[in-house]
């Protein structure tokens, strides 16, 4: 798993190595400094001349400057390495998400994908930085300090042989106990935040039902619950500080007691005052680096969850892939469904579509009717391969859609979705999604066909009008017509309108269909609609029910043969009749 992550370091390998090298250097220098200071103290104690003191001082100064330089270089390098790593990680996740098929996206929720790319990546970034800054430095400091302590303190250093394992075991025990507690808390914490989001979203319902007090109580309970768990977990971690302190103090008592005895009994032969104070300093350093190591351990385990979540996205393989030798040309807009069955996930008990057989000739206008959940959208989504069939095959231009290059296929099949989306940007920019190279004339032509030109012209900025995120500043009907124009610009062989004129009035709806007939007769047009009036003049109407084809035929034929069609027609007759 970690290997996959290391791949994302890429061009930031150099700063990573630089930072490792300089941090090592800094650590070496820092370990040397107490050694020199002990020397300095001894020199002063022995009554050396200012010049000698100055000389040793100078060495110290040089070392300090060197350490500063190394520290600065390492600081810059590690910042660059870790943030660069995070950048690459975000890039890798995003480009993989873009490759996802809908089947993949349905697996992760949108919010979870966003959190994975932000919070989780930041967690990994911090751990990475910790790792390159401390993971080498701390053990190094530890080894160095222990070695120095033995050189300086001789037998006295035996104290560390006892203290280090005690502290290490203690810290390990604490983090071992704290980790599962934290993991539990974070799960609950996610749930709490979900419930807040729910409340924010459903505020009108909460107020409408006068449920404020109820929600407060519910939230209060959840928050208290989390507080208890959190407190428990944090209190375990809080044991770190006293444990650490006990070790530091035990060390200094030991050094003072036995150090003084050793010094005095040996009359300074085995140990001197300078060495005692050096021992105290090294003791501190050793324990600090142990503390750091335990912190890394905690951080890494904490971000293990983030790493796992990111890994899931990185390793998710798109369910839809290009075939090996893809076809890059589509001959015509004919569509054929042969014994097609489809369900959204393997686990689903019910098929979304079963045993679909259809034969649509190029250039036909086909209407698709059916109730909610009858499988209309599922049916058309198989054509541009937004999903793959489970059984049977879908043919476009006489070839299985799975044989085509995905881009070729999707460029020839334009689809206006039920949930229309415009993006923040001008109308022109949005339209050019259909065709980047489209001239202004082509834009206008498409908009005229989609009956959008007129209202665009009525805006003060015309085609340069800025569309807000989600297209909230144009009406539903206008948005739908813009989306149709955008699809037309692709000059597709197959045009699919998935309930995309629901907000357009019947008259304009009819006008759009007329334009289609007049200007793009060779394009196969699939129209999903709620209104019978939108499809009554189609060459073929497909009536879906419960994922199966209930009836196929023209308006007149179906009126005669299909009871369900008559029922729908009669319900809607009213406005539509008077047309």
């Amino acid at each position: 798993m970690y290997k996959r992550f290391l791949k994302s370091v890429r061009e930031y390998k150099t700063p990573t190595i630089i930072s490792l090298v300089f941090i090592t250097l800094e650590a070496v220098i820092e370990a040397l400094i107490p050694f020199i200071t002990a020397e300095l103290v001894n020199k002063i104690k022995l009554g050396a001349s200012i010049r000698t003191v100055g000389n040793v001082g100078l060495i110290l100064l040089v070392l300090a400057m060197l350490s500063l330089a190394c520290g600065a270089v390492a600081g810059f390098a590690s910042a660059k390495a870790s943030t660069g790593f995070a950048k690459n990680l975000r890039h890798d996740i995003f480009s993989n998400i873009l490759k996802f098929s809908f089947g993949n996206v349905d697996k992760f929720s949108h919010t979870s994908l966003v959190t994975r790319m932000t919070t989780d990546v930041v967690n990994v970034q911090m751990s990475f930085m910790m790792l390159i800054r401390v993971a080498i430095r701390s053990p190094l400091m530890l080894i160095f300090s222990v070695v120095m302590a033995f050189i300086m303190g001789g037998k006295l250093a035996a104290t560390f042989v006892v203290i280090i394992p005690v502290l290490a075991l203690g810290l390990l025990a604490i983090s071992k106990k704290a980790m599962p507690a934290f993991r539990r808390v974070f799960k609950k914490y996610d749930k709490l935040n979900e419930s807040i989001e729910e409340n924010v979203r459903a505020m009108r319902d909460v107020k409408g039902f006068a449920r404020e007090e109820y929600e407060k109580k519910k939230f209060g309970e959840a928050a208290e619950n989390i507080r208890m768990d959190f407190t428990k977990a944090e209190r375990i971690v809080a044991l770190n500080a006293p444990l650490m302190q006990i070790c530091v103090y035990a060390n200094s008592i030991f050094v003072l007691l036995f150090g003084s005895k050793l010094t005095i009994t040996s009359q300074g032969a085995l140990l001197d005052v300078g060495q005692i104070s050096a021992m105290l300093t090294y003791g501190m350093q050793i324990l600090m680096s142990l503390m750091m190591l335990s912190m890394i351990y905690v951080m890494l385990t904490m971000s293990a969850e983030s790493i796992k979540r990111i890994y899931e996205v990185l390793e998710e393989k798109s369910l839809l892939t290009n075939p090996e030798n893809p076809l890059t040309e589509i001959t015509d807009g004919s569509i054929k469904f042969n014994d097609v069955s489809f369900k959204y996930s393997k686990k689903a008990k019910k098929n979304a579509l079963s045993d679909i057989n259809l034969d649509i000739k190029s250039g036909m206008t086909v209407g698709i009717l059916g109730g909610t959940g009858s499988g209309k959208s599922s049916l058309v989504q198989l054509i541009p391969r937004l999903y793959d069939v489970c059984e049977g095959e879908v043919l476009v231009g006489g070839r299985d859609v799975r044989e085509y290059d995905l881009d070729t296929l999707r460029n020839s099949v334009a689809m206006v979705l039920q949930k229309n989306m415009l993006f923040s940007g001008t109308i022109k920019e949005n339209l050019r999604w259909g065709n980047d190279e489209a001239t202004d004339e082509e834009l206008i032509e498409a908009c005229k066909m989609a009956q959008a030109h007129e209202f665009i012209e009525s805006f003060p900025n015309k085609y340069d009008t800025f569309i807000e995120q989600g297209g909230t500043n144009v009406s539903g009907g206008q948005r739908q017509r813009l989306c149709i124009a955008r699809a037309l610009l692709k000059k597709p062989k197959i045009l699919i309108l998935d309930d995309s004129t629901s907000a357009v009035d019947t008259k304009t709806d009819a006008l759009i269909r007329n334009e289609f007939k007049k200007f793009i007769p060779e394009t196969t047009k699939l129209i999903i609609a709620q209104r019978v009036s939108s499809v009554s003049d189609a060459d073929m109407i497909i009536l879906l029910d419960n994922g199966m084809v209930k009836a196929v035929g023209t308006h007149e034929e179906l009126l005669k043969t299909s009871e369900m069609y008559q029922e729908i027609y009669n319900q809607q007759s009213g406005g539509a009749e008077n047309e």
Partner: protein, 633 residues
């Protein structure tokens, strides 16, 4: 997701945080502070005793008489041991207390914020992005946690140690202390510069993350469109730009933060050398020492002094590392306080809804039991109380309204709905249909005119009681995590399972619910993501049905149900609307055809009113809408 960084804080952010901490924990917080100060103070004192021991060793090592030396050393070590034990205990205590207080504080902050949020007017939620509101609970609370649990205690501790060490240093030598103080001034200035730069970029980084979040969100929502148009490469390019900005800010922020430590640490090393040289110079030159202790310059002063210099600079380093947390924590606190300080929904209503009993003479009395009848309890200035039976009579007279002062959305609206009548609103998007219903349940307050409910001005009715008497089904269906049953029961918490199922049957939802894997006990999550839009609407209709209110507002309640299913639901809806005053906003004119009166709205004004036949005969706007000559949305 994040508001632009505010480097300037309102003055009271810090003091308010402290005040709240002490307010919530009037005993524990001071105890914690005491423990922190105690452990800080106590950790400076051992240096004196260490020095004493070294002095004793100095005295005895050439003689080598351990017997006599130990008599002097043991008592000092005894004192040290005592101090150490006291320090360890106080550290243990304050760390435990801190864990307790931090979580308690955060919990209280969350709850205060949440409780406050529940009382905010709908306007707040209409004008603030939901992501922004959410980030107060996640990002801002997180920074606050850093501030309270890490930065504040460290700040306090380091400051206390610095002060203690400083006084001990003065105890030894004023001259040498001056050398150290000069160094400290340099350190403080450097921390300000470097630390401030780091904080600035950290704030910028937060902003860039917000931007990236927004972009990802938009692309996720529009993913199908991206796919259908094969725009993956362009998307990636756009993201690359945002990603790079984030990287730059983040890199700078971390660079500053990373180099602060080495800079301060090495200034500390330099100070150490300077102090050593100064000490040497002082000893050799034989200058008279000025100090509290009155000791002359000697090795036994310089050595412990040097150790203290290390401790001193080490703590300044600690202090400087907290700058980021403090700045970000205060920014987070500020945003949280902004939410808490939002003006709450006002409610001067004093008329309440009570269970009522009506005797044969028609007198209404209040009762505790559920009688199925309700009455408005109206206390008057003179102390008398009158009861009005809840009927569902709504009168809107000459109402004007605008969401902001510049733009009036409704002009001169008058609508009279008698109990049991069905009133429909039709008109284009933005004509003001939903706005009228927003006014009836007082999500917004009217600017001019009057709305009366059973003859009572709705401003006099307690909001929660007013809303209890109104059923609401919105176009956008929001369900809560929990079972289907719990979601239906949301309408009336006391409702039995049978009543909930009855309501579901009425709404035509029973059929699909029983086919769900666990029937009524099926868990819903993510706003009922596993259900279709139409099914969710059916549940929300059932939820309103179980509430059983005299007045119903149906705002595009059936818009996501296809005509086939609607025909099935219609029967339930008809039953639901029976004997109730109903306000209907509908997209499909077929759903409003049978209404007692239809109001055609245009640009905030009622331009036509009457029943279906009357309006058709009039051949006006309604006729054109009905025949499809006009667009509805």
């Amino acid at each position: 997701m994040n508001k632009p960084p505010k480097m300037k804080f309102k003055k009271n952010v810090f003091s308010r945080t402290i005040k709240m901490l002490f307010g919530y924990y009037p005993v524990l917080a001071p105890v914690t502070v005491f423990c922190i100060l105690f452990s800080a103070g106590i950790s400076a004192i051992p240096a004196i005793f260490t020095q004493k021991i070294i002095a004793i060793i100095e005295k005895w090592w050439e003689i080598g008489d351990w017997q006599s030396a130990s008599k002097e050393i043991f008592p000092v070590i005894g004192i040290l041991l005592g101090l150490y034990i006291a320090a360890t205990i106080s550290i243990a205590v304050y760390n435990q207390l801190m864990a307790y207080i931090t979580q308690g504080f955060l919990c209280k902050m969350r709850r205060t914020m949440f409780d406050g949020m529940q009382n905010l007017p709908v306007k707040y939620f209409d004008t603030n992005k939901h992501g922004d509101i959410m980030s107060h609970y996640t990002n801002d609370i997180d920074t606050l946690r850093q501030l309270v649990s890490q930065a504040l205690p460290h700040l306090l501790q380091s400051a206390a140690i610095v002060l203690c060490v400083l006084s001990v240093m003065l105890y030894y030598s004023v001259y040498m202390t001056t050398v150290v103080i000069v160094g400290v001034i340099v350190m403080i200035n450097v921390s300000k510069k470097v630390g401030g730069g780091s904080a600035k970029y950290f704030m910028k980084q937060q902003q860039s993350i917000g931007k990236a979040e927004g972009f990802i969100q938009e692309m996720m929502n529009g993913q199908k469109v991206v796919k259908v148009f094969s725009r993956e490469d362009e998307c990636e390019k756009q993201f690359e730009k945002i990603n790079n900005e984030l990287y730059e800010d983040s890199r700078k922020a971390h660079s500053f933060a990373n180099i602060l430590g080495p800079i301060i640490g090495n200034i500390g090393n330099i100070m150490y050398v300077l102090a050593a040289i100064a000490g040497g110079v002082f000893i050799l030159s034989g200058i008279r020492n000025i100090s509290i202790s009155g000791m002359p310059f000697s090795i036994s002063i310089v050595v412990p002094f040097l150790n203290m210099t290390k401790q001193f600079t080490g703590n300044i380093n600690q202090l400087s590392q907290q700058i980021n947390s403090v700045v970000m924590g205060l920014a987070g606190a500020q945003r949280i306080y902004d939410v808490m300080d939002e003006t709450k929904e006002t409610d001067e209503g004093y008329v309440t809804l009570v269970n009522a009993k009506v005797d044969e003479a028609g007198n209404i009395t209040e009762t505790d039991e559920r009688t199925g009848k309700w009455a408005w309890k109206h206390p008057h200035n003179d102390g008398t109380v009158t009861y009005t039976l809840l009927m569902g009579d709504v009168q809107i007279t000459d109402v004007d309204f605008g969401y902001n002062e510049e733009k009036t959305v409704l002009k001169n609206i008058s609508v009279y709905a008698k109990p049991g009548q069905q009133v429909a609103f039709v008109g284009a998007t933005g004509a003001g249909k939903t706005t009228i219903t927003n006014l009836i349940n007082r999500f917004y307050d009217i600017a001019d005119g009057k709305i009366r409910y059973d003859g009572i001005n709705i401003n006099k009715i307690k909001k929660s009681d007013l809303r209890r008497s109104l059923g609401l089904v919105l176009q956008e269906t929001n369900l809560f995590s929990g079972t289907v049953m719990e979601n239906i029961r949301y309408g009336r918490l006391e409702a039995t399972d049978e009543e909930c199922i009855e309501a579901a049957k009425l709404a035509g939802a029973d059929d699909f619910i029983t086919r769900l894997p666990d029937g009524y006990e099926t868990e819903l999550s993510n706003n009922g993501a596993n259900l279709s839009q139409g099914q969710r609407q059916l549940i929300s209709i059932a939820r309103a049905a179980v509430k059983d209110p005299p007045v119903m507002i149906l705002d595009e309640a059936t818009s996501s149900i296809d005509t086939h299913t609607e025909a099935i639901v219609q029967k339930g809806m008809d039953k639901l609307m029976e004997d109730r005053t109903v306000f209907v906003i509908a997209h499909r004119l077929s759903t409003v055809k049978d209404s007692d009166v239809i109001m055609v709205l245009d640009k905030g004004e009622i331009i036509e009113r009457g029943n279906h036949e009357e309006l058709i005969n009039k051949k006006g706007t309604y006729y054109q809408l009905y025949t499809g000559a006009f667009e509805l949305e």
